[in-house]
Amino acid sequence: MTRRKPALPQERSARFQRAVRTLLARPLLVAGLADPDLFRLIRSQAAELRDWFDRETGWRLVVDAQTARLFKTVPTVHDATYPARDPRSGAPFGRRRYVLTCLALGALERADSQVTLGRLAEQILMAAADPDLTAAGIVFALDNREERSDLIAVVRLLLDWGALHRVAGDEEAYLGASGDALYDVDRRVISGLLTGSRGPSTITEPTFEARMRALTAEVMPDTEELRNRSLRHRLTRKLLEEPVVYYDELTAEELSYLTRQRAAILGRITEATGLVGEVRAEGIAMVDPDDELTDIRMPAQGMLSHLTLLLAGHIAAEPDRVEVEELHTLTRKLAAEHKAYWRKNATDPGMEIELVNAALHALTALKLIAVAGAQVTAKPAIARYALAEPTIRDNGART
């Protein structure tokens, strides 16, 4: 067994947990934008935090007077439920906005210390003329309102991160083509945005899959000890990032290591984060008794969350697949039943499609279901949302 340092004194350990949780929830903090208390907390614990993340996850943590950045790497490249979002509306980014974000960052990286929205737009226009982009169908001419609002969503994201700081003017005026806005550029933030170990410009693979592989590739360890450490890092990252880690997603090597070291790994995570391991036959969920460390809450208040919970209960009761069509029908019924509590338009014809889509998206993101075409398959952990029924169990009868 690994030797552990003696447990931290209660007070200090609570502060440490808070710092770790903050960084997990928001891997980039910029002074002036983030809560000053939290920022100070992280600054004061920087050395220990750096140590912990390095030892347990292999993630790099950089903390200076202006920024705190945890360079998280993805535990899996196949999860599409973590999109960038417009800070204002929460709508996920689409392809155009992603492209624009990268072009804007490319321009800002070269820019002076200040820039106006108009100037930035000009530079993006120039960069968007890249034949590879136009060949891929990205045309950006900035001649309509929709394109302007794409640009503004991108700028809002950069403001949200602290890559830009607004000095004068506002984006709305630009949207109406009647004004402009002036920003300070924070190069330090921009230089710390990419998390991959390799710069994309050094990767020449032609296909998407190969690019992703190259981007997330890690050095293969060549000694037993390093191999074990790398296994531990991978498992800890999964457990820290993902709502549920199913055993059937792990490689044989990972699974056998986890089986042997489960108590130790979970213990360390619990000590540092306050997350509790829900260990079941199919996998492990690190659950949060404080219900803070997540971007999707369940259960939660509100019509959509309510529907999600009810649908989860229904899916949990079905051992096999559920047709999406069936959920539509159920949602119409539920909307009628809950007329008193739900939004008025929930009973509008056709509304159920939108509602079910949103609910299924949340359940997929929480790794409770898998959706393939028009069919929904329950994943084991969804059973924790089943209605509690008085079942007869045989445990407790002996002894």
């Binding site: 891997p27 360079f71 998280k72 790497t73 993805v74 999860d79 599409a80 973590y82 999109p83 996920p92 392809r95 992603y98 990268c102 072009l103 490319g106 990286e109 070269r110 890249d130 590879d132 891929a136 169908g137 991160w161 921009i190 230089s191 945005l193 990419l194 998390t195 710069g199 994309p200 410009s201 050094t202 998407f208 992703m212 997330t216 990032e241 709502p243 549920v244 997350l275 509790v276 036959a281 690190m286 659950v287 219900d291 997540t294 971007d295 259960p299 208040q301 309510h306 209960g313 809950h338 008193a340 739900w342 929480l366 084991p380 952990a381 059973a383 949302y385 169990r393 445990n395 407790g396």
Partner: protein
């Protein structure tokens, strides 16, 4: 002189003309000659000086004369060759316009070329002169006009030089930092010296600046007006010859205003008016400190770019292409997460109640999710989608009494069972008839035992040994032949049957007693 100058003069035209470089050289040759007090120059002299082709020089001189920079006079000197004799020969000299243009250009080039220096020596000088001024005011005697005036002039001169230079320095520093993008090596070599230079200046400014501020305040306390007035009078006396009194007074007033202004400038340079209007010295200091940070930032950026990392701008452009070429929308999200890693962690929640329940039931790690107790979701939330109730809340029912009653009853039952068992246990085989009277609790248990034993006995056997269903008691039953019927008395009535030998052991205690 006026009638000799051509009507249209363009002394700066040569700067824009083709061949400007040659014109500049020629004009500079004239300026150099003037410094040696040589006024007239022959084309040959210039060609020799510039080591340039004579024809080109002659051509250039002609053009410059045309623009009014030079004046040509016929050369009446002796010649030594026929060709020279036949060529039109002139002596050239600078015109006043040409000379003024040269001076203007020199000033311009000086200003543009100036890097700007921070003069810590100037600070020391100003301090020294102010000390001298203070000494003059201190002794109460008549002020020495000449001394005072000279000191003030020299302070003013030193000071305006300092201010100009500081301004120029800040400007040139900015150029240097901006410059860093182009010439990295030169910048890196330069920055070390630059930083230590700025640091020294900051220290000097802090020390001398404080002393100067202090001296200025003390001079003001001792009375700065008389000093300024002495200087002003002396200056006015210089400027206007003795004559009308009014004019002299006006000149003194003008000079006085001038001096007050200068003093105020010096004062505000070193002494902050209040926290919102800091002194120039303080501004300069913070600007210099800012410059260092900026320099270090520029160095950091350069070092990062050099240390084998790829060009970030190119990285972003490559990513833009990847996003554009990604196979589907889901792929763009995946790429986003992999490249930026800015997503939050995501975890399911759990309630304290559920955690307690799991702990209580000791849910084993091998339990499937479907068989573990589900999450305790508030029934209110499940029913309405919200934690708050609409309308009147239910009264909370206090079940503490009922719970206590149940607990008491359970304890009582456990005690009775224990007593019954103790009552039934025999020390070795006894006859049924010797069991004595049984209370209902013990009798019920006894019937259970008897039932177990009799049902376990085969059709033709006389003896049976069996354990109860819960495995806590063992009973041995042996039929006693020809003993007839016996009776067992209980509070509920009398049980009769054939006589048996019975041996009851409490297995839960057996291990202890044996």
């Amino acid at each position: 002189m006026a009638e000799e100058t051509p009507p249209a003069q363009h002394p700066f035209a040569h700067l824009q003309a083709p061949n400007a470089a040659l014109y500049r050289k020629v004009m500079l040759a004239f300026m150099r000659a003037k410094e040696r007090f040589t006024v007239h120059l022959r084309p040959e002299d210039i060609a020799l000086d510039l080591t340039h082709d004579l024809d080109a020089v002659v051509e250039a001189l002609g053009r410059l004369e045309h623009w009014g920079n030079l004046r040509a006079d016929p050369d009446t000197g002796r010649v030594t060759s026929v060709e020279d004799f036949h060529r039109a020969r002139y002596l050239y000299q600078l015109t006043p316009a040409g000379q003024a243009a040269e001076q203007a250009i020199a000033v311009y080039e000086d200003a543009i070329g100036r890097r700007g220096v921070l003069q810590s020596v100037a600070l020391a000088d100003i301090a020294t002169q102010l000390r001298a001024l203070l000494a003059l005011t201190g002794n109460g005697a008549e002020l020495d006009a000449a001394k005072t005036h000279l000191l003030l002039i020299s302070v003013a001169e030193r000071f305006s030089g300092l201010a100009d230079n500081a301004q120029a320095f800040m400007a040139s520093l900015r150029r240097t930092i901006d410059f860093a993008d182009n010439d990295v090596d030169a910048f890196l070599a330069y920055k070390e010296r630059l930083i230590s230079y700025i640091e020294r200046f900051i220290a000097d400014l802090a020390n001398s600046g404080a002393e100067i501020a202090d001296l200025a305040l003390r001079i003001e306390a001792a009375g700065v007006e008389p000093l300024l007035e002495v200087a002003a009078r002396r200056e006015a006396a210089d400027a206007v010859p003795d004559g009308i009194d009014d004019e002299a007074d006006a000149a003194v007033a003008e000079a006085m205003r001038h001096w007050r202004n200068r003093w105020a400038g010096l004062r505000s340079w070193f002494i902050s008016a209040d926290s919102r209007r800091p002194s120039q010295a303080r501004l300069l200091r913070s600007a210099a400190i800012g410059a260092i940070t900026q320099l270090l930032g520029a160095v950091a950026v350069i070092n990062e770019r050099r240390s084998g990392r790829s060009d970030r701008s190119a990285d972003f452009r490559a990513l833009a292409r990847w996003f554009a070429q990604a196979p589907d929308e889901a792929a763009t999200h995946q790429l986003w997460r992999a490249a930026f890693g800015l997503g939050p962690s995501r975890h399911l929640t759990v309630t304290a109640q559920t955690l307690d329940e799991w702990a209580e039931q000791r849910v084993a790690a091998a339990t499937p999710w479907a068989q573990a107790p589900p999450l305790a979701v508030s029934p209110q939330l499940r029913r309405t989608g919200s934690y708050e109730r609409r309308g009147q809340p239910n009264r909370v029912i206090d079940r503490a009494d009922a719970r206590r009653l149940l607990l008491e009853r359970a304890a009582q039952e456990a005690a009775q069972t224990a007593a019954a068992r103790a009552r039934l246990v025999t020390d070795g085989p006894v006859l049924l008839s010797h069991l004595g009277q049984l209370d209902p609790q013990a009798f019920r248990l006894f019937l259970g035992l008897l039932g177990d034993a009799l049902s376990a006995r085969g059709p033709h056997t006389k003896e049976v040994r069996t354990t109860t269903g819960d495995g806590t008691m063992e009973v041995r039953l042996t039929l006693v032949d020809d003993a007839g019927l016996v009776e067992i008395h209980t509070t509920d009535g009398v049980l009769s049957g054939p006589q048996h030998l019975i041996d009851i052991t409490d297995l839960t205690r057996a291990t202890v007693s044996r």
